[in-house]
Amino acid sequence: MYAIKTLLNQYLRFIITVFGIALCVILMLFILSVYKGSADGAVQYIRSSDTDIWVLQNNATNILRNTSLLSSNYGKTLTGIEGIRSASPVLFMLASVKTREHPASIYLAGYDIQSEKGGPPSITEGRNISNDNEIVLDHSFAAKYKIRTGDQVFIKNDTLIVAGLSSGTNMFVLQYAFITLGKAKELFGFSGFVSAYLINTYPGIENEEVINSIKEKIPNSAVFDNSSFLENNNYEVKSGILPLLFIVALIGGIVLTAILSLILTVYVLEQRKDYAIMKALGASAGFIPGMIVKQSLILAGCGMIMALVLFFPLCNLVEKISPEISAVSSFRQVVLVIMGLAVISLISSLIPGLKLRNIYPLEVFQ
């Protein structure tokens, strides 16, 4: 009763404090969402590739931050191995696309349109490519550069028509684009190479046996089953983004703790006389500290509610302004932030709680 009434007594300060807390919570939620969006986007291509085994150049562990070059001739070798149903080549490369406004970098994936292996995970607008003169762009890339289906884009000296837009192909700092394997080789300038082979095995065949056979037949290769390869790529995303996001989230948490501590300390100092009266009138030792904790939790709770109300519209706004920022939120993230906020609230109560020790009931008699 007293806890909330004291807070509402200075309603403007209460609103500003709650707003400050909400901003910190939004920051934390946003960081977690961007992290999830980036991590999911970066590996969605692999996750939805419906591939049993990935074959890359020796020492390559992932397709995000490794270069892999394999001979085009390995395709025949691979299909000759027992248990392999298909071996689809894919050629990855970074390329500069000339749009109407600016040149922009994309991560080109050239794939075999007959087998469709290594193509876009899903098409959100238009259709998939059907010939060498077409390209499918990531939808956020297209939104950022205001490219629509049917538009032309320029890579090196080639002109490609945007046949469709894909989703699940946004890696935050870079986006996938899809062309035919032939066009990719042409752009690459060396027709005898591909980056990886996507292997599918026959049902009932043990991947481990096939992997060993591939390593035997192509010694200069790195071979992974799909889950190991997904894990490798996930690790690359996490090791690249996570430390930065962790530090930003940590700073958000520290700022939030400082705001709450400061505000609660101000309340304690302002209500000093009230607390001295309460002590004189016989308030138990835990009553006033308990009230400070309540106030902290009330402020944090209101901040959390305000943050949740503002977060989703803000995310939509950010995605409109910067379409390449993919923020994916989940119930788990919200629960995590609520738990973090509860801990921050308790920590924030410590300093003002210590101030209470220096308030004496005798003060009301002076």
Binding site: Y2, G282, S284, A285, V364
Partner: protein, 224 residues
């Protein structure tokens, strides 16, 4: 509780401020009896407030012995003293010290919360005491909106509502007009007589003498 609620035996209280010793009370003996209104009369700085705070167990004597409800104050733990103040001692201050963020009713109920009385019972008793002192209609009013006299009535209700046997009033009429002040003292006298409470008023207001069963004159920390 009947008879003597608190005793002081040859009590002295010395404050040591920046190396300078000041005797706030010197060799004071006193017995607080139920059903009695005692007036502690003296000018500012005579030791009246120190006297009250010692009796409330808010500080301990430098010399001598104080017993409250039969037990030496030095033998009370902090927790016991807190319970003592919340359940058995009522305070009234010159400047009322109502909590501004709470209504009159909530101010009275808060003390009963400290005493461990249930919310429902607290509400009934708070309303009863506000009614008794003519301010029930102000139950939902905040202290800022009350007159000085109304504030002190709420403060008296707060001091008495938890059933405290020992009522300590520090200059309760100091901020009030004469008539209002005497009304407050009248309420306290009534509480002493009809409810067998022990009321001790520290004041320099000579007019209260007519209500007092006993008057102690304090001067420079000594009863004269």
């Amino acid at each position: 509780m009947n008879g003597s609620l608190a005793q002081m035996y040859s009590v002295s209280k010395t404050f040591n401020r920046s190396g300078t010793k000041t005797d706030a009370l010197h060799n004071v003996s006193f017995q607080a009896n139920a059903g009695e209104l005692t007036l502690l009369l003296g000018p500012s700085g005579s030791g009246k407030t120190t006297f009250l705070t010692l009796l409330a167990g808010l500080q301990k004597p430098t010399e001598g012995t104080i017993t409250i409800f039969g037990k030496n104050v030095k033998d009370y733990s902090s927790r016991e003293l807190q319970i003592l103040r919340s359940r058995h001692i009522g305070f009234i201050f010159q400047t009322f010290y109502l909590l501004d963020s709470l209504t009159s009713l909530e101010n009275v109920m808060l003390v009963m919360k400290f005493a461990g009385i249930s919310k429902n019972e607290s509400r009934v008793r708070a309303e009863e005491f506000l009614d008794r002192f003519g301010v029930k209609h102000l139950g939902n009013a905040y202290p800022k909106t009350l007159s000085q006299g109304e504030k002190q009535r709420v403060a008296v209700a707060r001091a008495l509502a938890n059933g405290a046997e020992l009522i300590l009033a520090d200059e309760p009429t100091g901020s009030l007009a004469t008539q209002q002040g005497m009304t407050i003292v009248h309420f306290l006298k009534e509480a002493a007589k009809t409810e067998n409470r022990c009321v001790i008023i520290a004041s320099h207001d000579e007019r209260i003498k007519t209500f007092a069963d006993r008057v102690l004159h304090l001067s420079d920390g000594e009863i004269i």
